[in-house]
Symmetry: D2
């Protein structure tokens, strides 16, 4: 199926990654030369396109992973794929589910969770900062996942209107202060997840989860180690991200 105007494409030459929203007659300038949108429209994913200087780029349909890593605007610290993929599976997300999320930051996790609950599920996303909400909306739109998200410009400390959530994920500074608001909005047996960067936050959160009779409480951490992909000199990268956040999960009783 050929690529059409309006589609989002990813161009890569293995060093650079560019995202283009295709419009006929437009030109995209790179340090390797100009790329004419018209040269891409009508081609197929996996084809190549050349700049006016003759440099070749592969045309890719961007995956959600690539959109999160290279495409979205980052106005906040995002939740990375190593964590968001695990969170989504651990929460048990599947199509048709109704999920609560706050804060959504730049929406990186929301994209992954929306993909898991589509086509008939919904993410209710609370974000008190209007500017973050705008960024998240744009990013969800870029990922074509916005229709599976109901955005609320709301502070969770004022309570949650909706009920009967199948799952919830909380990424705010003092999540323990909100357990009392979240618990009544969850179905019994629903899984709730949290991301917190510090040990102090885990400690506060564990106390509050126990106080509210949550079950099967788990604390985890995921580390991603990358290797230089060179057959003759296989070795880990010199440096790595050593910490994004601790993940906490529990079952509502």
């Amino acid at each position: 199926m050929s690529i059409k105007e309006g589609e989002l494409v990813e161009l890569t030459d293995n060093k650079n990654v560019f995202f283009l929203n295709l419009k006929s007659n437009e030109v995209f300038s790179t340090h390797k030369g100009n790329i004419y949108h018209n040269d891409i429209i009508g081609k197929e994913y996996g084809d190549t396109v050349k700049t006016h200087k003759g440099k070749e780029f592969l045309i890719l349909k961007p995956t959600l992973y690539d959109i999160i890593m290279y495409g979205i605007k980052r106005k906040t610290q995002i939740i990375y794929p190593k964590d968001s993929a695990y969170i989504t599976l651990k929460l048990g997300l599947t199509s048709d589910m109704k999920v609560f999320e706050t804060g959504i930051g730049s929406g990186a996790l929301t994209i992954v969770m929306a993909n898991a609950v589509k086509p008939s599920g919904i993410i209710h996303a609370y974000e008190k900062e209007i500017k973050h909400l705008q960024t998240a909306k744009e990013n969800l739109k870029l990922a074509q996942m916005d229709k599976y998200v109901h955005f609320h410009n709301k502070d969770i400390s004022l309570g949650i209107e909706e009920k009967d959530f199948d799952a919830a994920f909380i990424d705010v500074k003092e999540p323990w202060t909100h357990i009392k608001h979240i618990k009544p909005a969850l179905k019994k047996g629903a899984i709730i997840g949290f991301l917190v960067p510090t040990a102090n936050q885990i400690i506060n959160l564990l106390q509050e989860l126990e106080r509210h009779s949550f079950l099967k409480i788990e604390v985890k951490e995921i580390l991603l180690r990358e290797y230089k992909p060179i057959a003759e000199r296989l070795r880990p990268e010199d440096r790595m991200v050593a910490h994004t956040g601790y993940l906490i999960f529990a079952r509502n009783k």
Copy 2:
């Protein structure tokens, strides 16, 4: 919605996890006493049931995560959620995709990938060992994901009949020997992933991927560290799984 006969339920008392396929009049014996299926049928998820000795169990709708960790038969080393969740996101799986997988072993990854491509996508799963295929089928059925999988009792070294795969995942002993069969079955731009346990396998694989002009080759490893969830004495578990496998990803050109 009340729980019906024929449903798969998970029972937990925070120490034990049991899976029951509900049949009226049946009894399930545990060391904490007998549980009557009839006492569960008609209840709701999140309710509790008592054994004849009065011990309480929480009734949960099992998530795919729980099914993989506690429910499926393991006849082979399985691919764990920390890896399968990441693989699924990295491959760019989304509903409607057509995905190739071999070998499927006990089907733990297949379950997660099937959930990602449903409702209208399909996993073509090749497995040369008929006994593994049977186990995988049973496990996929348990997870209610079997209808999104086309099982083939086939050895990939005899080639792949289907074409135009959006993505592929290969978990066999000598994956480099099969690149020539897999490449023609992939769409251009499709992402292929591999799991191999040894550095020697990575080295062989990298050489072959380069020889076949795959792009954006990445080698990664995911480590999951678990913590004792005790507020007063927060600390990592004493021991951890230190290695499952290396993950390799590449784009077909």
Copy 3:
């Protein structure tokens, strides 16, 4: 130089490791046959000895590392070489230093620190449990490091008699309660180290160290990953020790 009666030797056949204190005419029974001490006395390190069944063992002079890992009695959780080696270097230990340690547990760290301060330095080791002190003494003797240690059957909460320590290492349950006793016993500029297993303990300790004006406070953790040493299938071991303790260091001001 030939091996003499009274020496401690290590025997290994690459599967088993045995420690023998050589006495003429004695016999050591193994499941691979009997080993006669007389067959070892007079040989050299690096030679082999055979059991009465003809199975060969290599005769090694045990290193401190081997003594700690295989030779000493473990009545408590020991501090492993990955940690004790780093602690010793971080504390700046060198010959002639006067070092304070409590509690000493089975003496595994004491052995390594004693080796670093010999020939003219001294470790003052406080241990309130008499049975641990006895075990530690035996273990230090086994490692031939006992003459560099002054053992005190004392509880640090009653204060420290000695003064002017160059360095100190504290491995007790509530180290923050003892800072006020330890500080006056340290030289200005001396480095103090701690091992604690939980995040809560780190938090308490950091508060107290700041309150007492310690400088250059550092919190670290050392992970040791082992690989299967097989050239054809190089890979990490399946499981690893995921946590021994957090290490905290500071300079006395």
Copy 4:
């Protein structure tokens, strides 16, 4: 004991670390103001000195750890304390030992090993690059460990003159090509260690060690994770050194 001219001192204000070789009447300029050497001479370690702008610095006797991390010239990738401390303990180094090392690079490991074999042991250090040898000599002198090292401007591929080494450490690009030269120079039962950055090197080395009948071959890797030492927000640092090198150890038979 008061600080004298000619001594090496470390100054720190918890943000900056400076090393000074004290000479009377000299001045050291910092962005926090000038420090007069005369203001330090005659003081004691642990005292403070003020710049002409009134900023206070703590005067410390530098530990080997600090000299390696902040003091030495780094003309090559150095072996860090997390590795050098472990290597030294694993090799079984203790005073009076005769140890072989090549290549020595900037001498960071040599400093730690020299400290372990002093006062009467010796490190024979081979380095084929004269410029590295000069740097290493200067660094060993800075650490006051040069008298325990015999420096050889030699390429190990031309063989080793000395005999009867108690231990050896090899940090060169193709260590497997030198096993045949090193083995005859080792005592039986001696431990040999290697650092290599890539998996390919481990594989080559394991093959050669087996071919030469080395025993108890081990492959290890040490990871150091650092935490932000803040009591209210305890958490790992965002990034870490993910790889320095793999450590391989074996016993000479």
